[in-house]
Amino acid sequence: MIAPFKVSYRQDLLLAKTPAAKASYAVLLVALAVIPLVMGEFYVGELGGLFIFAIAGVGLMLLTGYTGLVSLGHAAFLGIGAYAHAIMLAQGLPFLISLPLAGVITAAFGVAIGVPTLRMSGLYLAISTLAFGSIIGTVLQKWDALTGGFDGFPVRTPTILGWKIQGAIGTYYTSLIVLVLVIWLALNILRAPLGRAMVAIRDSEISAQSMGINLAVTKSIAFGVSAGITGLAGGLYAHYVRHLAPDSFDILLSIQLVTIVFIGGLGSIHGAIFGAVFMRLLPQAIAMVRDDLPFGLGRTPGLEPSLFGLILVLVIMFEPGGINGRWMKLKHWCKSFPLHRRAASRRQKSYAKSERLR
């Protein structure tokens, strides 16, 4: 869409494309760093949760948005990361070793599920990850010896260099730091050969293969990296909830994660963040207007998932670019004002394409 004119290949590799973008990221970072000093504990806690979901969203975005592999079982990776981290902390490992190790363990699971599913694409992959997710969910519930079953698993308060990570503020800052690191990692992957290969696979497997990309290796790495990042989010999630319950990592959570990616906008890191913001704000918004809705609608159980469902349906039908796509259009409209042309943002007419052969 709108991009500055490219005058060198270096420009393509920049992390922030324009000076204005660089400045706005810096302002955002400073603002996020001082928020806990001025806002109440509740908001800080909620923002910490948002960061955790944003991390998971970035992880899934690498897989679904950039490699084109859809996973309906990412809650399992979140769960594996959370339990691995909590168990290692309980064994006395320090936080700074345990969290990355939880990520590595989850990445190993990701490769393990990724390798047999390499031959599948689209539909079969979605179904098999769904099955994998529900198997892991059942294992977490039934393996009492390891996970404590339905009694749950208490998460120990960790220390980093003598500083206790506790309460909303501790989770906030650790999640923020991990989120920034993860985004930086994701952006670096995307501008490295690996990221280019992932995008090529998303757009056409056959042409990627004929360009010399090893499909199996790239897909497994994508699965591993995505699962690993989600595992990191899981480790932080353990601190966020403080007491792990095995049934919280179910299909509904997997679908929420995919919804983050879809509503935010496929194929952009911004989209993952926007999606996470939306995902965490909607329940708050519902809670605020709950009592004012007519016909006792606000008291209906299942209001929240159905609203998520409705918004998901509307986004896919009318704005496949998600929030990020809408944002780009708005930006374009402002920049070209008053010369905006309707055709610039009109979707191309598309026809049914067979995915039986890819």
Binding site: Y124, S134, T300, S306
Partner: protein, 294 residues
């Protein structure tokens, strides 16, 4: 001898549950073959069919057969509208966008059913409730399970005749095989697709009605849809007899796993079968391998 009879009873109960899986899987396969869309809301459509039957038979007090027929028709009409209003608009979008779309629809249906019919389990009396059939001295089977198996067989026969003998059925086969050629032959492909959705929703409603004597209808009964995936994949996702055979196999294996293996295994059996098939034989039992020519 006792154990043989017990085993036979287990297998027949499993086959009955499997028939339900098979019917839902049949709905997946019909839609997938025709439009390459996968309807993750199939289980929820079945749930709506069950509630429709409950409305006609349980609330309005209609005759079981009349009420059930009306429920099937109503659900089929719902399926037609679903395609005409929602799914037709997303043609050309990637397959997983459609997957997410139908998942979203599933949530909406669940909440809608909760608002309309409440969150309690409901049931109504059918001719097959609580009656048993004896074969010889030892083998005792519930009429409910037998009615499921018998109903499935009849429905399959009807569908087979429909697809092989009627003009509309052949038009449907043609549109599934090659959309463009079907257009050239003057088949109104879009309406045919909507009709396929209607048939698939109707089949789901039949499954729901057959299931009523065994299991009460409630908002969460759509979960069965996920087990039906295992059936569809086992059969090769795209093969109609495969879906039914797959359903019966999954149902029987699940029943036996529940009896012979420790607790917890029954719930994941269908998923393990699914993953095993996808890893060992991705084309399923009856599927065909297609390769792309470049």
């Amino acid at each position: 001898m006792e154990s043989v009879v017990g085993l036979l009873q287990l297998i027949i109960n499993g086959a009955a549950t499997g028939c339900i899986y098979g019917l839902i899987a049949l709905g997946f396969v019909l839609i997938y073959k025709a439009t390459e869309m996968v309807n993750f809301a199939q289980g929820e459509i079945m749930m709506l069919g069950g509630f429709a039957a409950y409305t006609f038979v349980g609330i309005f007090g209609m005759n079981y057969w009349v009420g059930s027929g009306l429920a099937v028709l109503a659900t089929a009409a719902f399926g037609y509208l679903l395609d005409a209003v929602v799914l037709r608009r997303v043609i050309g979008q990637p397959q997983f966008a459609v997957v997410m779309l139908t998942l979203g629809l599933a949530f909406i249906f669940r909440a809608g059913a909760g608002i309309a019919w409440g969150y309690d389990s409901v049931a109504f009396v059918t001719p097959f409730t609580n009656s048993i059939v004896r074969f010889g001295d030892t083998l005792v089977l519930g009429a409910d399970n037998l009615s499921i198996i018998f109903g499935t067989l009849v429905l399959c026969g009807v569908l087979y005749l429909f697809f092989s003998r009627t003009r509309l059925g052949i038009a449907m086969q043609a549109s599934s095989q090659n959309q463009l050629a079907a257009y050239y032959m003057g088949i109104p492909v879009r309406r045919v697709f909507s009709l396929i959705w209607a048939i698939s929703a109707g089949v789901a409603a039949v499954a729901a009605i057959l299931l009523v004597p065994v299991q009460m209808v409630d908002v969460n009964s759509g979960i069965v849809g996920f087990k039906a995936f295992a059936a569809a994949v086992l059969g090769g996702f795209g093969s109609i007899p495969g879906a039914l055979v797959g359903g019966v196999v999954v149902g029987v294996v699940e029943q036996l796993a529940g009896f012979y293996l420790p607790t917890g295994f029954q719930e994941v059996t269908s998923n393990i079968v699914l993953l095993a098939v996808l890893i060992l034989r991705p084309q399923g039992l009856f599927g065909q391998v297609i390769r792309k020519r470049v």
